[in-house]
Amino acid sequence: MIALKLVTIICEAHARKPLTELLRDVGARGWTAFAVEGNGDKGPRLADIPETANVQLQVIVRPEVAITLLERLEREYFPRYGMIAYASDVQVIRSGKF
């Protein structure tokens, strides 16, 4: 078992493609995305059509990558898109995959 960071990003669907570019850029080797809906400080995000839905991206990375990722999110993406991001500790097996 090895300790890594799980970074979760919940964002508007329009941010999905640009975000996957960023994930590649910082060196994340894989990620998972799914459509979600919910409420934010600007009211409900209607998930009735794909274009206005929310997307949750999850990526497991090394701690130093998580810091780069969160810093770049704050600088480049938060001013542009509706989104939140957070990191949590996870224990993984098969550490070579990350």
Binding site: H14, P18, E21, L46, A47, Y77
Partner: protein
Amino acid sequence: MELFDAVRANLLSPAVLFFALGVLAAVVKSDLRFPEQLYAGLTIYLLVAIGFKGGVAFADAGFAEVWLPAAAAIALGALIPLWSYPILRFWGRMSVVDSAAIAAHYGSVSAVTFIAATNYLTAVGQPFESYASAFLAVMESPAILVGVLLGKRAVPKSGLPALTGSSRQVLHEALFGRSVVLLVGALVVGGLSGAGGMAKVEAFFVTPFQGVLALFLLEMGLVAGRRLGELRKVGVFLLGFGVLMPLVHGFIGVVLGHWTGLSLGGATLLGVLAASASYIAAPAAIRLSLPEANPTLSLTAALAITFPFNLTLGIPYCLAVARWLYTP
């Protein structure tokens, strides 16, 4: 009188009535909800059906007949933002980026509005050039490009670093976005397979078309209705803009169609395309390239004001203008 009859024929069509039902269901907060996958599936069906039919007609008419109105459609799409921008900027006192973003939405087009217009023309027995769906395909992107340029040129450096590969993504979306691929692809397939191919798929793509459209508009009524609350946020100016610009653009589109040799029905469709505003392709491109723009303003104007207006009144208005123009 002519306008009144044209409007009544439209308002009592199943498609528009189902749209109204959707709006009503959203307003009373019914739990009625379409699965997202059904929405995506119906979109694919409608775009393929309209593209295929257009392709068959395109092959029949030949390039010589189509290129001039198609060029007019592209030019109109690119020009609409150029006069919409100053109106928004100086009369509406909107910021530079918001003006550019909204101008891009209004120059680009709404496929559903176009499809509803072909349905309406069929219902009132007005023949039209089916290859007009090629105009729909070529009018989506030029306005977005012009709007982005307007916004970029005028924005003082915001200090935001550029996103990795964002201009490549905008270009990729404009050329290979799913609506472009479906529509252009179906046009080519229709053109290659011709009338013989049409006979094979007619039972699926033509006969059930009106029913599918009615179902889709029920969903669009829900989508538009849920956003009516946003109207409070956009202000009186944008409300007026969302209703008056379709009238002006519809008129210009019909006149251009007349000049470039389209029939009465074809000119009506070019008018409807000019009058419509994009709420799928434009928001995606603008979010990427003009992130400072407020998406609530442009999306609410296009989706909650202009789309319902065109669906109910704008389409019969364009037909009435065309009938007036084509009367010797």
